[in-house]
Subunit: 281 residues, 2 copies
């Protein structure tokens, strides 16, 4: 069940700036990037970012609470220290004020050093179509191979989350700027940009408390999971925006021994959630 | 992906005493309870415990890592303070040495007070068949109703986990004795007995680090998820033991807004887990 929002923090939060799930203008987010990022590639968007669109930070529980196996990107493209790993030990800690996630990354992972140094990472939710890659990424080390190249995964230069996704906690853009790349590709459901919020339990349990500072959803992702109440042909206000096809992108959940269970049917219990209506907007 | 076991702790661990997944004697566990618990009910087992059998503590990641919505039992049957709540914010932290789980339980939950007082709880994994009850339990408070009675959930007196499930960390049975009841019923996949390991992040984030001290799996649960390589009629060494029917008990994963996704098909990637063979025993 969701955790109740903390009333004492709510006054200072406001909605994230990227609260645009029902924004009818599919160009809104991309336009902001043209000027903000000044990419030298000549494209409107940094390479690979066009596959994604901003997603409200306070709703990332909808991506993480189901318990999917994740990819984690750390380091920086600029100095070629970017690495990618697979992770199944994670949780939602707090919906907002700020949005917090827990993750176990230990010194046996190359990503641990990156995280220590930069204080940043990106959690990516892969769809089941790329599960073989996800498993293979988890069964080799960035010490030995360039996993991006080996597995054909494109790192996407980090957009500035403070500008386009809302910092939500009053901190400035400079402080919030993340450098860890997003994980690119049609098979990636979402990218969640994080900074380290608390290292108090890292030494004891390799447990990092991460603060979400930006979130990006695949433009093709059907967040209604194929069960939305849109009229045929009326997709103007859907996530994914405009004329793009929609996919029910299924998550994979690690059963702990190399077997995975894939999202099956949906059960809609929203009518019974009488105590937690605030999480259904 | 699994977290690597900590070599410096492994010497002191040994396998849990309930490592009996391949034990051909289905009566082994129950026999221990007859003498150990001295139940006055006249039954061989405490009421409701016969639905479950011990499960190896170091394998509870196979129950929690997929990210199922959970029930949490706290308090004590003896003084009628037992409560039950629903929770989706949890994670595996450490496979063993000791086995650790993270869980968010805040002061808005009645269970928070129980956990503070007793330092114990039971995490139960419900199967999708009881999802309506699970949601309803999460949408009312133990302050207002007796949720056990209202929803027809039977609390099962806590067995002594140190005796039958192995403490695994050298602590004695008295220190390990848990009082929080298990969650009874055919629709419960597993019960995981926990004590509070670390409260360092409770004040800041309501994040409890729990140590698993005992685990119980539904006797009907088919841990091969219907894809095991048993010969027809040969069920002597399967989990569930002997002549019991097997069920593929599906977990439900909360999508964060009152919608749940149910376990779908399985993808077996065990052959690709070249780095983590130790977690496939």
């Amino acid at each position: 069940m969701p955790r109740k929002r903390d009333p004492k923090n709510e006054g200072g939060i406001g909605l994230p700036l990227n609260e645009s799930e029902s924004d009818p203008d599919p160009d809104r987010a991309p336009k902001k990037f043209k000027s903000a990022l000044g990419s030298g590639s000549g494209d409107d968007l940094p390479s690979g970012l066009d596959q994604f669109r901003p997603y409200p930070i306070h709703k990332v529980n909808r991506l993480l609470e189901p318990g999917p196996v994740l990819l984690v990107a750390t380091g920086s493209l600029a100095n070629k220290t970017h690495n990618i790993m697979t992770m199944g030990f994670h949780m939602m800690i707090q919906h907002e004020g700020p949005t917090l996630v827990g993750a176990c990354i230990g010194p046996w992972d190359k990503s641990y050093d990156n995280l220590k140094k930069t204080g940043e990472c990106v959690l990516a939710v892969p769809a089941v179509e790329m599960l073989e890659k996800v498993v293979d990424i988890g069964n080799c080390s960035g010490e030995d191979v360039d996993k991006w190249e080996t597995f054909g995964i494109s790192p996407v230069p980090a957009p500035d989350p403070a500008l386009d996704s809302g910092s939500g906690d009053g901190k400035g853009a400079q402080e919030e700027r993340a450098q860890a790349p997003l994980v690119g590709g049609e098979g990636v459901i979402a990218n969640i940009q994080c900074t380290v919020q608390d290292q108090a339990l890292v030494a004891r349990y390799n447990l990092w408390v991460l603060r979400v500072i930006g979130a990006w959803i695949n433009k093709d992702m059907d967040l209604e999971y194929g069960q939305g109440n849109q009229m045929p042909g009326d997709d103007s206000d859907s996530v994914g925006g405009g004329k793009l096809r929609k996919r029910e992108m299924k998550m994979a959940h690690h059963r702990g021994d190399g077997r995975f269970v894939v999202d099956g049917k949906e059960v809609d219990m929203r009518d019974r959630m009488v105590k937690w209506k605030e999480f259904q907007d």
